[in-house]
Each structure stands twice: as structure tokens, then as C-alpha cells.
Amino acid sequence: MSTITPNSIQQSQQRFLTINQRINEAATTIVSEYTAILTLAPVADKDRETTAAETYQIECHATAIVRTIEDLLMVSRSLKESWILGQVASFQTNYER
């Protein structure tokens, strides 16, 4: 692993922040999409047209959840990539420091 210069520490922190942000965004999205599904679920004397539109919306929200989780998988992949290339300080290195 390359020597950690102040610059690379900065970069590493920047990456850490970006990854954290992406994870938080994904979590928020998942919760909000799930809430949307629950909001649409009641029948509540709506007419057929509204119901049909809502059916489609439920489908869309479910797909959005799946997509967000796939995005999280990409985050984990890029994290691993950075770890392998020594761009992010590993836990061990942090601990040693």
C-alpha cells in the first residue's frame, strides 16, 4: 500500500463523505418510496380511473426501491475497488493511526 500523504488523507476523507452521502440518499429514497406505496394502498372510495393510475404508481415505486438497492450494490463495489487500490484507508490503517 502506498504511503499516506496528507493529500491522500484528504482525498480519502472526500471519498468517505461521498460514499456516506450516497448511502444516506439511498436510504431516504427507499423509505420515501415505501411510504408512497403505503399511502397509495388504501381503496377509500376512489373511482376506477384513480385506482388504475394508483396501481401503476405502486408498481413504479416498487421498481424504484429495487433500483435504489442496486445502486447501493454499486456503492459497495466502488468501495471495494477503492480498498483494493488503497485509495481509502482501511479500518486497520485507521486503527493503527
Binding site: 406505496i37 394502498a41 388504501p42 381503496v43 372510495d45 376512489k46 373511482d47 376506477r48 385506482t51 388504475a52 394508483e54 396501481t55 401503476y56 405502486i58 408498481e59 415505486h61 416498487a62 421498481t63 426501491i65 429495487v66 438497492i69 442496486e70 450494490l73 459497495s76 463495489r77 471495494k80 475497488e81 483494493i84 487500490l85
Partner: protein
């Protein structure tokens, strides 16, 4: 008269002209708003069909009988003196207003007529689809010329009785929610598998990294991920193939090494040929030993590296045959280099397929196979030397700009040393033999040789 705070029923429109003297502005404004007054009249008295002149006369008469007693206005005496003075300008004003109103009325009547004509056209067109003759007579020439007769139809629609059945909506919702839950369940299953595959893949990548291979990020149009550099670029190789492979992941999460271009399968083989009964016969052979078995990724990287080296070596050798052409070195068929040496020895360097390598091993036992092996090792070492030389040249401080350098002819770095070292000793032997013969001849001739010939 037109106070907005009062409701329409409270207002009674007077048919008399408004009082002239008191408030001319109000009068003018009331006359100007004819388009507002007409709907108001219609509201108060119903359709204009019911409004007849007689009725109006009666009303006026009744009003004139009642009003003088009730509203015998007190200001009348006071204004009686001033009225004659004002009456002349008021009359012209009134006439003007009257003309304006008349023009306005004409305009409105025109608009009404136009609208009535359009309605007539519409009805005529509608009728013309059922009874063309009846419809066409009342159609306007403009409509006739622009729209085909009978092109508008109509039909009665019986609206279906709409009964909202809540069970339908309930069913749809149930379907949608269960489909969503199914989708999420399937996705979770798939993603869990995917995560396991990813884990497997990255473990293998880590193994490769721990083994000391140079990994890098690859950002290619068709692939984003990890790559491994197995080539000799950093060691000083100038070969066109840089030796970069991508570490891809197959559907099962296994690491798959994919080199750029086709997979190499050729290794270098050195053969030593000697003449026997007038024909050259191979007396020894050595092919580079490269593990052909497909093992794990580390093995594959090693194999790719070895094969790349073999590839580059033959490329350099084939390139240098041109330089050594004067010494009889030839390149046949693009993949066989023939090097004739003194003493009727001939060395053939060619590339053979990795699979043939094992078949040719049987021939390794030939009498000259040691020579072949030594030559092969020498060639490999010489390529390493060439790499080192390139690296040093790359590291050295560049010459100042504008320095004139004599571009020397390409030098043979691999074949040259080999050929010269192999050719020197036979040539030396033959030279010594020649000189020895000369010496013996001179000795035999009993010439007085002052100086002895020592060799």
C-alpha cells in the same frame, strides 16, 4: 342604476331616457353598456317575444300617473331657471349618444345574425347527412364549397349505468400491492445472490492483489471495473501489446481474466539441424515450457505473461532477421527464422502452438537438445537485456532540444550476439586449421623461417 352592490332583482330598468341634466356621465355610461342592459331586461321581463309595445305603453302610463304625485320633485322650481341654458348642449350630447348607441346596436344585431347563420349552417350540415336535399337548401355557399355535404353525423348514445363496484377497486389494489411485494421479494432474492457473487469475486481479486499483481481501474466503454497489468511496459518493453487484462465477473461470481485481443497460444521453439545424407535433419529441439493448464486466475495471469514474453521475443527476432540478412538469416512463411551457421549447422526458430509443446517434448531427447535449450535461454535473456536497455534510455536525462543526433542503423540486439557468438568459434577453428596447414607446408618446405609461428 348599475350599482354593483344591489342584486339584479332589485334593479328596475327604466325605459325612459335617463335624466339629462342631473348626471350626464351616468347617463352616458348606462347607454354605453347596452350589452349589459339587454341581458338585464331579459332577466326582468323574460323573452323579448313577450315584450310588446302596448304593454310598455301601459307601463309608462301607469308610471307617469303614479310618479308625479309621489316624487313631485322639490328641486324643479330651483332648476327651472337654469334649464333653458343647459338644454342646448345636452341635446347635442344626447344626439351623439343616441347615434353611438344605434351603431352599437347595429353591430350587436350583426353579430347575432352571424351567429344565427352559423347555427343554421351547423343544423343544415347535420340534417344533410340524413336528408341531403333538405340540408343543402339552407346551407351557406361558403360551407358548401368548403365542407362536403353530409359529412357531419350524429347518434344517440345511451350512457351505461355507472355503478362503482368497490370490490373491483379492491381487487386491483390487492393485485398491485401483491405484485409489488412479489417484485420486491424476487429482487431481494436476486440481490442477495448478487451480493454473494460479488463477495466471491472480490475475494478472488484480493487474492490476485495479495499475489503482487498490479491492479488498476479500467474505464472502458464496455467494461468498468478492475484490470490487471501483466505486461512488461514498466520493465522497458516497447511492444505494441501493453499486456492489460480485465478482471471480469461471470454469472456465478467467478473471476474471469480477459486479455485484450485473442488469447495467445504460441511459444518459441528452437531446433538444431544437421545434414545427414544430403538432407537437413533435426537433431535437437527445445520449446519454451509454459504451463498450458487452465488453473486459477493467478495461473492464468502468469501464463498470459509468459506467452506475451514469447510473443514479443519472436516479434523481435523476426524483426532482426532483416538486419542480419547479409549473414544468410531468413524469415520463411512469417513464422520460421532460419539461421545458417558454419559447419553446416542450422538453427531454426519458430513459434509452435502451446498444445504442440507436449507433443514435441518427445523430440527433446535429441543429441543437440542441450544446444537448443541453451540457445532458447540465451534468447530470453537477451530480450531481458533489451528491456533493461530501453528502460535505462527512458530514465536518462533527455538530450537538449535541437541536438543533432546521428540516427544509427537499427542494431540487432538479440540475434546479433547469438549469431556472432555461435559463429565465432567455428570460424576461429577453421582459421586456425588454415594457418596450421600453412605452417606445416612452410615447415615441410624447409624454408628458413626466422620467426616461428606460435598459435
Amino acid at each position: 342604476m348599475s350599482t354593483p352592490s344591489l342584486s339584479a332583482d332589485d334593479i328596475f330598468v327604466s325605459l325612459e331616457p335617463p335624466p339629462l341634466a342631473e348626471d350626464p356621465t351616468l347617463a352616458v355610461s348606462s347607454f354605453r353598456n347596452l350589452s349589459q342592459i339587454i341581458p338585464q331586461i331579459a332577466r326582468e321581463r323574460g323573452s323579448f317575444m313577450n315584450v310588446t309595445e302596448d304593454k310598455l305603453r301601459k307601463e309608462i302610463r301607469a308610471a307617469s300617473q303614479s310618479t308625479p304625485q309621489e316624487e313631485n320633485p322639490s328641486p324643479e322650481p330651483s332648476s327651472s331657471t337654469s334649464q333653458p341654458k343647459q338644454i342646448a348642449p345636452d341635446l347635442t350630447q344626447f344626439e351623439e349618444d343616441f347615434n353611438n348607441t344605434r351603431a352599437e346596436l347595429t353591430r350587436l344585431i350583426g353579430a347575432a345574425q352571424n351567429e344565427a347563420a352559423i347555427s343554421l349552417d351547423f343544423v343544415s350540415l347535420l340534417i344533410s347527412s340524413v336528408r341531403p336535399a333538405a340540408g343543402t337548401t339552407s346551407m351557406s355557399p361558403h360551407l358548401k364549397s368548403h365542407v362536403p355535404v353530409g359529412s357531419l353525423g350524429s347518434d344517440k348514445i345511451k350512457p351505461l349505468p355507472r355503478v362503482e363496484d368497490p370490490s373491483v377497486c379492491l381487487g386491483w389494489k390487492m393485485q398491485a400491492v401483491s405484485a409489488a411485494s412479489d417484485r420486491l421479494a424476487r429482487a431481494s432474492e436476486r440481490l442477495a445472490k448478487e451480493a454473494v457473487h460479488e463477495k466471491k469475486y472480490w475475494e478472488q481479486v484480493e487474492e490476485v492483489a495479495v499475489a503482487g499483481e498490479v491492479l488498476s481501474k479500467m474505464r472502458m466503454p464496455d467494461f468498468r471495473g478492475m484490470g490487471v497489468r501483466y505486461g512488461f511496459v514498466d520493465a522497458g518493453s516497447t511492444y505494441k501489446e501493453k499486456g492489460i487484462a480485465t478482471l471480469r465477473r461471470d454469472a456465478e461470481g467467478n473471476l474471469v481474466l480477459k486479455t485484450e485481443g485473442e488469447k495467445r497460444t504460441k511459444v518459441l521453439s528452437v531446433q538444431v539441424m544437421r545434414p545427414l545424407h544430403g538432407q537437413y535433419v533435426m537433431t535437437g529441439q527445445y520449446a519454451s515450457k509454459v504451463n498450458a493448464e487452465i488453473g486459477d486466475v493467478k495461473c492464468q495471469i502468469k501464463q498470459a505473461r509468459d506467452l506475451l514474453f514469447e510473443d514479443e521475443l519472436f516479434y523481435q527476432i523476426a524483426r532482426e532477421t532483416r538486419i542480419l540478412g547479409s549473414q544468410g538469416v531468413t524469415l520463411d512463411l512469417g513464422n520460421t527464422v532460419m539461421i545458417p551457421l558454419p559447419d553446416d549447422l542450422q538453427i531454426v526458430i519458430e513459434t509452435i502452438d502451446l498444445e504442440d509443446q507436449y507433443n514435441s517434448m518427445e523430440l527433446d531427447g535429441g543429441s543437440d537438445s542441450v544446444i537448443a535449450e541453451a540457445i532458447s535461454i540465451a534468447l530470453h535473456l537477451l530480450l531481458c537485456k533489451l528491456h533493461r536497455k530501453n528502460l535505462n534510455a527512458r530514465r536518462s536525462v533527455p538530450l537538449p532540444l535541437g541536438t543533432r543526433t546521428n540516427i544509427t542503423d537499427a542494431k540487432s540486439e538479440i540475434l546479433g550476439p547469438l549469431v556472432s557468438s555461435l559463429a565465432v568459434s567455428p570460424i576461429k577453428d577453421s582459421l586456425i586449421a588454415l594457418i596450421t596447414e600453412l605452417k606445416s607446408v612452410l615447415n615441410d618446405s624447409n624454408l628458413d623461417t626466422h620467426e616461428s609461428l606460435y598459435i
